[in-house]
Symmetry: C2
Subunit: 135 residues, 2 copies
DNA sequence: TATCAGGTTTACGTGCACGTAAACTAATGA
DNA sequence: TCATTAGTTTACGTGCACGTAAACCTGATA
């Protein structure tokens, strides 16, 4: 059943964010849950959007940038001009992600080097106090 | 010659940041260029650090986080305890980067879908007005 | 000699993403 | 009935990463 709903507390706990943050995302128009009286009721679509927002944050995106990406997933009744701009935006986003990919790969390589430098120092330049067999 | 030096203006232009930003990185202790009188003179080591800072920014790191990573590259006279903690930090950083990697791969896939949805709409549900050969 | 261009310090201002009270409401159970 | 447990609104506060004056210095050039 995709009809499950969530309280703000549930989402906050599941994704380890504060209720304040979730309400803030609503303030800036990134979420718009249903209401039962005044109480917010989040559907699975809201949960998905929240997940996308948080993934954006992990990638260093601002909320505005995240919104742009999320909006990409819901073309719908856009006209031709909008769709063309959307595809441009998609391409730009792709390029930025590729830059991030190469940044990450470089950083991972550097971490390897940093770690082996550490090991070298830890094993000591003292003298090669050989390999007690690990058994 | 690695002995080339740079003015703040040169670095700012090369990396497309403001002089204000560069001075800010100095304020928080991420850069410490030499001086000729009061004028800052950046050596290639400073330029490298700046490059690392900006890469960190592209990956969504705070300046504090970037500093931690940059410090990883200069063990030097650390004692055993520090080195062990450093290796832990390296490992954590690695794990975070791997999370980013999978986030990015997922996002790229979704962009593919979003784009083909666009194309589908643009080519129109009208009728397949076929392929004028691209020549 | 005057006036730039390029650099400097000092310090207050700003946008973003929330944090943190404070005071209120509505349903629930002892 | 009264307190407890979620949830709510309103609104000011905060940390970060700079932006933006304003006022100053200094060497080179017209």
């Amino acid at each position: 059943m995709k009809n499950k709903t969530y309280s703000i507390r549930e989402l906050a706990e599941e994704f380890e964010v504060t209720h304040r943050a979730i309400r803030h995302y609503e303030d800036v128009g990134l979420l718009s849950p249903q209401r039962q009286g005044r109480t917010r009721v989040y559907a699975s679509v809201d949960r998905t959007r929240l997940k996308l927002i948080l993934r954006g944050k992990r990638l260093g995106l601002s909320l505005t940038e995240s919104r742009q990406i999320i909006d990409m997933y819901e073309p719908g009744k856009n006209n031709r001009g909008q769709l063309v701009r959307l595809m441009t935006a998609i391409q730009q986003q792709r390029e930025q992600l590729h830059r991030q990919l190469s940044d990450i790969h470089r950083l991972l390589l550097e971490l390897d080097e940093a770690e082996s430098a550490c090991r070298k120092t830890l094993d000591g330049p003292t003298f090669p106090e050989q390999k007690e067999p690990t058994v």
